[in-house]
Protein backbone atom coordinates (compact mmCIF):
# COMPACT_ATOMS: atom_id res chain seq x y z
CA UNK A 1 0.00 0.00 0.00
CA UNK A 2 1.56 3.34 -0.98
CA UNK A 3 2.12 5.93 1.72
CA UNK A 4 0.49 8.94 0.08
CA UNK A 5 -1.36 11.34 2.32
CA UNK A 6 -3.16 13.52 -0.20
CA UNK A 7 -2.19 16.56 1.87
CA UNK A 8 0.29 19.29 1.05
CA UNK A 9 0.82 20.17 4.66
CA UNK A 10 4.22 19.44 6.14
CA UNK A 11 4.00 16.36 8.31
CA UNK A 12 4.15 17.00 12.03
CA UNK A 13 6.51 14.94 14.09
CA UNK A 14 5.93 15.95 17.70
CA UNK A 15 4.68 13.93 20.63
CA UNK A 16 1.00 14.05 21.51
CA UNK A 17 -0.74 15.79 24.37
CA UNK A 18 -1.13 13.60 27.37
CA UNK A 19 -4.40 11.72 27.37
CA UNK A 20 -6.90 12.81 30.06
CA UNK A 21 -8.10 9.46 31.31
CA UNK A 22 -10.76 11.02 33.55
CA UNK A 23 -12.54 12.18 30.39
CA UNK A 24 -12.73 8.63 29.02
CA UNK A 25 -14.75 5.84 30.62
CA UNK A 26 -12.60 4.04 33.21
CA UNK A 27 -11.48 0.54 32.29
CA UNK A 28 -13.80 -0.92 34.93
CA UNK A 29 -17.44 0.15 34.57
CA UNK A 30 -19.36 -2.60 36.42
CA UNK A 31 -22.77 -1.65 35.04
CA UNK A 32 -21.34 -2.58 31.64
CA UNK A 33 -20.85 -6.17 32.70
CA UNK A 34 -18.35 -7.30 30.09
CA UNK A 35 -15.84 -4.79 31.44
CA UNK A 36 -15.62 -6.67 34.75
CA UNK A 37 -13.38 -9.47 33.47
CA UNK A 38 -11.75 -7.49 30.69
CA UNK A 39 -10.44 -4.46 32.57
CA UNK A 40 -6.78 -4.34 33.57
CA UNK A 41 -6.51 -3.93 37.34
CA UNK A 42 -2.98 -2.60 37.57
CA UNK A 43 -1.94 0.95 36.77
CA UNK A 44 -0.68 1.48 33.21
CA UNK A 45 2.98 2.32 32.64
CA UNK A 46 3.28 6.02 31.82
CA UNK A 47 5.95 7.38 29.51
CA UNK A 48 6.31 10.13 26.97
CA UNK A 49 5.71 9.15 23.35
CA UNK A 50 8.63 7.53 21.57
CA UNK A 51 8.87 7.38 17.79
CA UNK A 52 6.86 4.12 17.96
CA UNK A 53 3.80 6.06 19.16
CA UNK A 54 4.48 9.33 17.31
CA UNK A 55 4.65 7.63 13.92
CA UNK A 56 1.71 5.95 12.24
CA UNK A 57 0.73 4.47 8.90
CA UNK A 58 -0.76 6.62 6.14
CA UNK A 59 -3.81 5.38 4.26
CA UNK A 60 -4.22 6.56 0.69
CA UNK A 61 -7.34 7.67 -1.13
CA UNK A 62 -6.43 5.11 -3.80
CA UNK A 63 -7.67 2.33 -1.55
CA UNK A 64 -11.21 3.73 -1.45
CA UNK A 65 -13.94 2.29 -3.64
CA UNK A 66 -16.62 4.41 -5.26
CA UNK A 67 -19.35 3.38 -2.81
CA UNK A 68 -17.27 3.03 0.34
CA UNK A 69 -18.93 6.09 1.90
CA UNK A 70 -22.46 5.12 0.84
CA UNK A 71 -23.93 2.47 3.12
CA UNK A 72 -27.29 2.85 1.37
CA UNK A 73 -25.82 1.31 -1.77
CA UNK A 74 -22.48 -0.38 -1.02
CA UNK A 75 -24.08 -3.72 -0.17
CA UNK A 76 -27.35 -3.34 -2.07
CA UNK A 77 -28.35 -5.30 -5.13
CA UNK A 78 -28.23 -3.33 -8.37
CA UNK A 79 -31.09 -0.84 -8.50
CA UNK A 80 -32.03 -1.35 -4.87
CA UNK A 81 -31.14 0.47 -1.66
CA UNK A 82 -31.12 -0.04 2.09
CA UNK A 83 -34.37 0.46 3.99
CA UNK A 84 -34.75 3.18 6.60
CA UNK A 85 -34.48 6.87 7.28
CA UNK A 86 -31.90 8.12 4.81
CA UNK A 87 -29.32 10.35 6.46
CA UNK A 88 -26.00 12.02 5.84
CA UNK A 89 -23.38 12.17 8.56
CA UNK A 90 -20.83 14.91 8.11
CA UNK A 91 -18.29 16.75 10.21
CA UNK A 92 -14.59 17.23 10.76
CA UNK A 93 -11.82 15.36 12.43
CA UNK A 94 -9.90 17.90 14.51
CA UNK A 95 -7.11 17.64 17.00
CA UNK A 96 -7.15 19.15 20.48
CA UNK A 97 -5.62 22.34 19.07
CA UNK A 98 -8.66 22.74 16.81
CA UNK A 99 -6.57 21.94 13.72
CA UNK A 100 -8.26 19.80 11.05
CA UNK A 101 -6.69 16.40 10.56
CA UNK A 102 -6.38 15.65 6.83
CA UNK A 103 -5.90 12.13 5.57
CA UNK A 104 -7.47 10.48 8.61
CA UNK A 105 -8.97 7.07 7.90
CA UNK A 106 -12.54 6.87 9.21
CA UNK A 107 -14.29 3.52 9.34
CA UNK A 108 -17.88 3.19 10.57
CA UNK A 109 -20.27 0.35 11.27
CA UNK A 110 -23.80 0.08 12.54
CA UNK A 111 -27.00 -1.92 12.88
CA UNK A 112 -29.68 -1.63 10.20
CA UNK A 113 -32.82 0.48 10.51
CA UNK A 114 -34.47 -2.25 12.59
CA UNK A 115 -31.57 -2.47 15.02
CA UNK A 116 -30.04 -5.72 13.71
CA UNK A 117 -26.40 -6.31 12.82
CA UNK A 118 -25.31 -8.44 9.91
CA UNK A 119 -23.46 -10.86 12.19
CA UNK A 120 -24.13 -14.51 12.92
CA UNK A 121 -24.00 -13.85 16.64
CA UNK A 122 -26.70 -11.16 16.58
CA UNK A 123 -29.90 -12.96 17.50
CA UNK A 124 -32.27 -9.97 17.79
CA UNK A 125 -35.72 -10.63 16.33
CA UNK A 126 -35.62 -7.67 13.97
CA UNK A 127 -35.05 -8.73 10.35
CA UNK A 128 -31.87 -8.39 8.37
CA UNK A 129 -32.12 -6.01 5.44
CA UNK A 130 -30.81 -7.86 2.37
CA UNK A 131 -29.58 -4.55 0.96
CA UNK A 132 -27.67 -3.35 4.00
CA UNK A 133 -24.19 -4.51 4.99
CA UNK A 134 -23.50 -2.00 7.74
CA UNK A 135 -19.95 -0.82 7.13
CA UNK A 136 -18.25 2.01 5.28
CA UNK A 137 -15.11 4.10 5.24
CA UNK A 138 -13.69 7.38 4.01
CA UNK A 139 -10.58 9.54 4.34
CA UNK A 140 -10.78 13.13 5.56
CA UNK A 141 -10.06 16.02 3.21
CA UNK A 142 -7.51 18.83 3.59
CA UNK A 143 -9.55 20.56 6.34
CA UNK A 144 -10.32 17.31 8.15
CA UNK A 145 -13.83 17.21 6.68
CA UNK A 146 -15.73 14.03 5.87
CA UNK A 147 -19.23 12.89 4.92
CA UNK A 148 -21.06 9.66 4.27
CA UNK A 149 -24.57 8.42 3.53
CA UNK A 150 -26.41 5.77 5.45
CA UNK A 151 -29.73 4.91 7.07
CA UNK A 152 -30.43 5.74 10.68
CA UNK A 153 -29.68 2.65 12.79
CA UNK A 154 -32.41 1.39 15.09
CA UNK A 155 -32.03 0.94 18.86
CA UNK A 156 -31.85 -2.65 20.05
CA UNK A 157 -31.95 -4.71 23.26
CA UNK A 158 -28.74 -6.33 24.44
CA UNK A 159 -27.94 -8.94 27.07
CA UNK A 160 -26.44 -6.77 29.81
CA UNK A 161 -29.29 -6.12 32.24
CA UNK A 162 -32.66 -7.82 31.85
CA UNK A 163 -34.00 -4.91 29.83
CA UNK A 164 -31.07 -2.82 28.55
CA UNK A 165 -31.36 -1.10 25.20
CA UNK A 166 -28.64 0.54 23.18
CA UNK A 167 -29.57 3.95 21.79
CA UNK A 168 -29.28 4.38 18.04
CA UNK A 169 -25.57 4.70 17.36
CA UNK A 170 -22.83 4.43 14.78
CA UNK A 171 -19.39 3.10 15.69
CA UNK A 172 -16.42 5.14 14.47
CA UNK A 173 -12.83 3.99 14.15
CA UNK A 174 -10.40 6.85 13.58
CA UNK A 175 -6.82 6.61 12.37
CA UNK A 176 -5.02 9.93 12.62
CA UNK A 177 -1.34 10.58 12.01
CA UNK A 178 0.28 8.78 14.91
CA UNK A 179 -0.41 5.42 16.46
CA UNK A 180 -1.03 7.15 19.81
CA UNK A 181 -4.01 8.99 18.26
CA UNK A 182 -5.83 5.74 17.54
CA UNK A 183 -9.42 5.98 18.74
CA UNK A 184 -12.68 4.07 18.58
CA UNK A 185 -15.84 5.82 19.70
CA UNK A 186 -19.58 5.92 19.04
CA UNK A 187 -21.88 8.59 17.70
CA UNK A 188 -25.36 9.05 19.13
CA UNK A 189 -28.35 10.99 17.77
CA UNK A 190 -29.70 14.22 19.22
CA UNK A 191 -32.94 13.77 21.12
CA UNK A 192 -32.68 10.02 21.78
CA UNK A 193 -33.92 9.35 25.36
CA UNK A 194 -32.08 6.00 25.45
CA UNK A 195 -28.69 7.75 25.46
CA UNK A 196 -28.99 8.65 29.12
CA UNK A 197 -30.01 5.16 30.19
CA UNK A 198 -27.30 3.22 28.38
CA UNK A 199 -24.68 1.57 30.64
CA UNK A 200 -22.02 1.94 27.96
CA UNK A 201 -22.67 5.66 27.55
CA UNK A 202 -22.93 6.12 31.31
CA UNK A 203 -19.44 4.70 31.71
CA UNK A 204 -18.28 8.16 30.65
CA UNK A 205 -18.12 10.05 33.95
CA UNK A 206 -18.71 13.59 32.68
CA UNK A 207 -22.03 14.67 31.13
CA UNK A 208 -20.21 17.27 29.03
CA UNK A 209 -18.03 14.51 27.58
CA UNK A 210 -21.10 12.46 26.66
CA UNK A 211 -22.61 15.45 24.89
CA UNK A 212 -19.60 15.61 22.56
CA UNK A 213 -20.67 12.21 21.21
CA UNK A 214 -24.19 13.34 20.28
CA UNK A 215 -24.61 14.41 16.66
CA UNK A 216 -26.74 17.45 15.92
CA UNK A 217 -29.58 17.43 13.40
CA UNK A 218 -28.72 20.01 10.72
CA UNK A 219 -31.75 20.91 8.63
CA UNK A 220 -29.63 23.29 6.51
CA UNK A 221 -27.54 20.40 5.22
CA UNK A 222 -30.32 18.08 4.12
CA UNK A 223 -30.89 16.84 0.60
CA UNK A 224 -34.56 17.78 0.14
CA UNK A 225 -36.88 14.80 -0.35
CA UNK A 226 -33.92 12.47 0.16
CA UNK A 227 -31.86 12.64 3.33
CA UNK A 228 -31.60 14.56 6.59
CA UNK A 229 -28.15 15.47 7.89
CA UNK A 230 -26.39 15.10 11.23
CA UNK A 231 -23.18 16.91 12.14
CA UNK A 232 -20.57 15.00 14.11
CA UNK A 233 -17.07 16.30 14.85
CA UNK A 234 -14.39 14.02 16.28
CA UNK A 235 -11.38 15.26 18.26
CA UNK A 236 -8.07 13.39 18.35
CA UNK A 237 -5.08 14.03 20.58
CA UNK A 238 -3.15 17.19 19.70
CA UNK A 239 0.55 17.49 18.94
CA UNK A 240 2.97 19.28 21.15
CA UNK A 241 5.46 21.68 19.51
CA UNK A 242 7.39 19.99 16.71
CA UNK A 243 10.73 20.17 18.41
CA UNK A 244 11.46 16.51 18.09
CA UNK A 245 13.14 16.76 14.69
CA UNK A 246 15.62 19.35 15.90
CA UNK A 247 16.18 17.95 19.32
CA UNK A 248 16.36 14.21 19.14
CA UNK A 249 17.02 14.11 22.85
CA UNK A 250 13.45 15.27 23.41
CA UNK A 251 11.51 18.42 24.23
Amino acid sequence: MPAESGSNRRPETGAFFQRDRTWHPPVLTPNYKTSVLRSPQKAPLSFDNTLSEIAGPVFGHAMLGELDADLIHNFARPGESALGERIIIYGRVLDERGVGVPGALLEFWQANAGGRYRHKKDGYLAPLDPNFGGCGRTITGEDGGYAFRTVKPGPYPWPNGPNDWRPSHIHFSVFGHGFAQRLITQMYFEGDPLIWQCPIVRGIPDKAAIETLIATLDMQATIPFDARAYKFDIVLRGRRASLFENRLEGN
Binding site: T34, R38, S39, L51, S52, G98, W109, C135
Partner: protein, 204 residues
Protein backbone atom coordinates in the same frame (compact mmCIF):
# COMPACT_ATOMS: atom_id res chain seq x y z
CA UNK B 1 -9.24 34.84 35.65
CA UNK B 2 -6.40 33.98 33.31
CA UNK B 3 -6.91 33.51 29.59
CA UNK B 4 -8.33 30.31 28.23
CA UNK B 5 -6.02 27.94 26.39
CA UNK B 6 -8.74 27.43 23.77
CA UNK B 7 -8.16 23.73 23.52
CA UNK B 8 -10.64 21.06 22.54
CA UNK B 9 -10.81 17.79 24.40
CA UNK B 10 -10.27 14.39 22.86
CA UNK B 11 -13.50 12.62 21.94
CA UNK B 12 -14.29 10.12 24.69
CA UNK B 13 -13.56 6.54 23.73
CA UNK B 14 -16.29 3.94 23.61
CA UNK B 15 -16.09 0.17 23.40
CA UNK B 16 -15.66 -1.28 19.93
CA UNK B 17 -18.52 -3.58 20.89
CA UNK B 18 -19.08 -7.21 19.94
CA UNK B 19 -19.31 -6.47 16.23
CA UNK B 20 -16.11 -4.52 15.62
CA UNK B 21 -15.39 -6.97 12.80
CA UNK B 22 -18.33 -5.67 10.78
CA UNK B 23 -16.56 -2.35 10.52
CA UNK B 24 -12.88 -3.23 10.48
CA UNK B 25 -12.64 -6.74 9.03
CA UNK B 26 -15.96 -7.21 7.20
CA UNK B 27 -14.69 -9.98 4.93
CA UNK B 28 -13.58 -11.92 8.01
CA UNK B 29 -17.14 -11.94 9.37
CA UNK B 30 -18.80 -12.80 6.09
CA UNK B 31 -19.70 -9.37 4.72
CA UNK B 32 -18.24 -9.75 1.27
CA UNK B 33 -18.49 -7.48 -1.72
CA UNK B 34 -18.00 -4.17 0.07
CA UNK B 35 -14.18 -4.11 0.12
CA UNK B 36 -11.89 -6.36 -1.95
CA UNK B 37 -9.88 -7.36 1.14
CA UNK B 38 -9.72 -6.52 4.82
CA UNK B 39 -7.22 -3.80 5.63
CA UNK B 40 -4.01 -4.96 7.23
CA UNK B 41 -4.45 -8.63 6.40
CA UNK B 42 -1.23 -8.86 4.35
CA UNK B 43 1.93 -7.42 5.86
CA UNK B 44 4.70 -8.82 3.67
CA UNK B 45 5.32 -9.52 0.01
CA UNK B 46 8.16 -11.27 -1.85
CA UNK B 47 10.29 -8.14 -1.82
CA UNK B 48 9.96 -7.22 1.85
CA UNK B 49 13.37 -7.10 3.49
CA UNK B 50 14.00 -8.87 6.76
CA UNK B 51 13.53 -12.11 8.62
CA UNK B 52 10.07 -13.59 8.15
CA UNK B 53 8.34 -14.35 11.42
CA UNK B 54 4.89 -15.35 12.54
CA UNK B 55 3.10 -13.97 15.57
CA UNK B 56 0.50 -16.05 17.40
CA UNK B 57 -1.27 -13.80 19.87
CA UNK B 58 -4.10 -14.52 22.29
CA UNK B 59 -5.90 -12.15 24.64
CA UNK B 60 -7.09 -13.73 27.88
CA UNK B 61 -9.71 -12.36 30.26
CA UNK B 62 -9.69 -12.46 34.06
CA UNK B 63 -10.69 -16.13 34.09
CA UNK B 64 -7.98 -17.11 31.60
CA UNK B 65 -10.48 -17.54 28.78
CA UNK B 66 -9.29 -16.36 25.35
CA UNK B 67 -11.32 -13.51 23.85
CA UNK B 68 -12.99 -14.67 20.66
CA UNK B 69 -14.30 -11.27 19.65
CA UNK B 70 -11.16 -9.11 19.89
CA UNK B 71 -9.33 -7.19 17.22
CA UNK B 72 -5.61 -6.54 17.34
CA UNK B 73 -3.64 -3.99 15.37
CA UNK B 74 0.13 -3.99 15.25
CA UNK B 75 2.59 -1.31 14.20
CA UNK B 76 6.27 -1.83 13.74
CA UNK B 77 9.46 -0.64 12.10
CA UNK B 78 11.01 -2.33 9.08
CA UNK B 79 14.07 -4.57 9.22
CA UNK B 80 16.34 -1.52 9.49
CA UNK B 81 14.35 0.06 12.30
CA UNK B 82 12.62 2.66 10.11
CA UNK B 83 8.90 3.42 10.23
CA UNK B 84 6.92 3.80 7.02
CA UNK B 85 5.51 7.13 8.21
CA UNK B 86 5.88 10.86 7.51
CA UNK B 87 7.14 11.17 11.09
CA UNK B 88 10.18 9.07 10.15
CA UNK B 89 12.96 11.61 9.58
CA UNK B 90 15.99 9.30 9.68
CA UNK B 91 15.57 7.75 6.26
CA UNK B 92 13.17 6.03 3.91
CA UNK B 93 11.58 2.83 5.12
CA UNK B 94 11.35 -0.31 2.98
CA UNK B 95 8.66 0.55 0.40
CA UNK B 96 7.61 -3.10 0.47
CA UNK B 97 6.72 -2.97 4.13
CA UNK B 98 3.80 -0.86 5.34
CA UNK B 99 4.44 -1.73 8.99
CA UNK B 100 0.82 -1.98 10.07
CA UNK B 101 -1.34 -5.04 10.43
CA UNK B 102 -4.84 -5.80 11.64
CA UNK B 103 -6.21 -9.18 12.65
CA UNK B 104 -9.41 -10.41 14.26
CA UNK B 105 -9.11 -13.19 16.79
CA UNK B 106 -10.42 -16.53 15.56
CA UNK B 107 -14.07 -16.95 16.52
CA UNK B 108 -13.42 -20.49 17.80
CA UNK B 109 -9.93 -20.40 19.28
CA UNK B 110 -9.31 -16.75 20.03
CA UNK B 111 -5.98 -17.00 18.21
CA UNK B 112 -4.70 -14.09 16.18
CA UNK B 113 -2.00 -14.78 13.59
CA UNK B 114 0.24 -12.26 11.82
CA UNK B 115 2.88 -12.99 9.21
CA UNK B 116 5.45 -10.22 9.35
CA UNK B 117 9.17 -9.53 9.75
CA UNK B 118 11.38 -9.04 12.74
CA UNK B 119 11.65 -5.27 13.23
CA UNK B 120 14.94 -3.44 13.58
CA UNK B 121 15.77 -1.19 16.50
CA UNK B 122 14.25 2.26 16.92
CA UNK B 123 15.79 5.06 19.00
CA UNK B 124 14.32 6.16 22.31
CA UNK B 125 14.03 9.90 22.90
CA UNK B 126 17.53 10.07 24.38
CA UNK B 127 19.01 8.44 21.27
CA UNK B 128 19.66 5.05 22.85
CA UNK B 129 18.28 2.16 20.82
CA UNK B 130 15.18 0.43 22.08
CA UNK B 131 15.04 -3.34 21.75
CA UNK B 132 13.14 -4.65 18.73
CA UNK B 133 9.47 -4.43 19.52
CA UNK B 134 6.02 -4.36 17.98
CA UNK B 135 3.34 -1.96 19.22
CA UNK B 136 -0.01 -3.57 19.95
CA UNK B 137 -3.46 -2.04 20.16
CA UNK B 138 -6.31 -4.21 21.37
CA UNK B 139 -10.04 -3.53 21.25
CA UNK B 140 -13.03 -5.73 22.07
CA UNK B 141 -16.40 -5.72 23.72
CA UNK B 142 -15.88 -4.68 27.34
CA UNK B 143 -12.70 -2.68 26.64
CA UNK B 144 -13.68 0.96 27.06
CA UNK B 145 -10.43 2.43 25.75
CA UNK B 146 -8.19 0.57 23.31
CA UNK B 147 -5.32 -1.11 25.16
CA UNK B 148 -1.80 -0.20 24.15
CA UNK B 149 1.17 -2.42 24.86
CA UNK B 150 4.29 -3.87 23.22
CA UNK B 151 5.58 -7.25 22.17
CA UNK B 152 9.31 -7.86 22.67
CA UNK B 153 11.25 -10.95 21.56
CA UNK B 154 12.58 -13.74 23.78
CA UNK B 155 15.75 -14.17 21.67
CA UNK B 156 16.78 -10.53 22.14
CA UNK B 157 17.87 -10.86 25.72
CA UNK B 158 20.75 -8.43 25.49
CA UNK B 159 18.74 -5.74 23.70
CA UNK B 160 15.82 -6.25 26.06
CA UNK B 161 18.13 -5.74 29.03
CA UNK B 162 19.06 -2.29 27.70
CA UNK B 163 15.60 -1.19 26.57
CA UNK B 164 14.53 2.16 28.01
CA UNK B 165 10.86 1.25 28.29
CA UNK B 166 11.37 -2.18 29.83
CA UNK B 167 13.75 -0.50 32.27
CA UNK B 168 10.89 1.68 33.47
CA UNK B 169 8.92 -1.25 34.82
CA UNK B 170 9.34 -1.03 38.56
CA UNK B 171 8.05 -4.51 39.32
CA UNK B 172 10.61 -6.62 37.45
CA UNK B 173 8.47 -9.70 37.86
CA UNK B 174 6.12 -8.15 35.26
CA UNK B 175 8.73 -7.62 32.53
CA UNK B 176 8.16 -11.12 31.03
CA UNK B 177 4.52 -10.17 30.33
CA UNK B 178 5.85 -8.16 27.37
CA UNK B 179 8.15 -10.83 25.94
CA UNK B 180 6.94 -13.23 23.25
CA UNK B 181 8.39 -16.73 23.28
CA UNK B 182 10.20 -17.94 20.18
CA UNK B 183 9.04 -21.29 18.80
CA UNK B 184 10.84 -21.95 15.51
CA UNK B 185 10.11 -18.96 13.30
CA UNK B 186 7.00 -18.04 15.26
CA UNK B 187 6.60 -15.99 18.40
CA UNK B 188 3.84 -16.86 20.82
CA UNK B 189 2.40 -14.10 22.98
CA UNK B 190 -0.42 -14.15 25.51
CA UNK B 191 -1.94 -10.86 26.62
CA UNK B 192 -3.51 -11.18 30.06
CA UNK B 193 -6.11 -8.52 30.80
CA UNK B 194 -6.16 -9.33 34.52
CA UNK B 195 -4.66 -11.62 37.12
CA UNK B 196 -1.18 -12.49 38.34
CA UNK B 197 0.23 -12.39 34.83
CA UNK B 198 -1.57 -9.16 33.86
CA UNK B 199 0.23 -7.61 30.91
CA UNK B 200 1.86 -4.23 31.41
CA UNK B 201 -0.28 -1.77 29.47
CA UNK B 202 0.92 1.67 28.48
CA UNK B 203 -0.27 5.21 29.03
CA UNK B 204 1.81 7.03 26.47
Amino acid sequence: MAQSLDRLRESPSQTAGPYVHIGLTPNFCGIGGVYPTDLGATMVNDKTKGERIGLRIRVLDGTGTPLKDALIEIWQADADGLYNSPAELRGTADPNFFGWGRCATDMDTGLCAFETIKPGRVPFRDGSLMAPHITLWIVARGINLGLHTRLYFSDEEKANAGDAILARIEHRIRVPTLIAERQGDTYVFDVHLQGEKETVFFDS
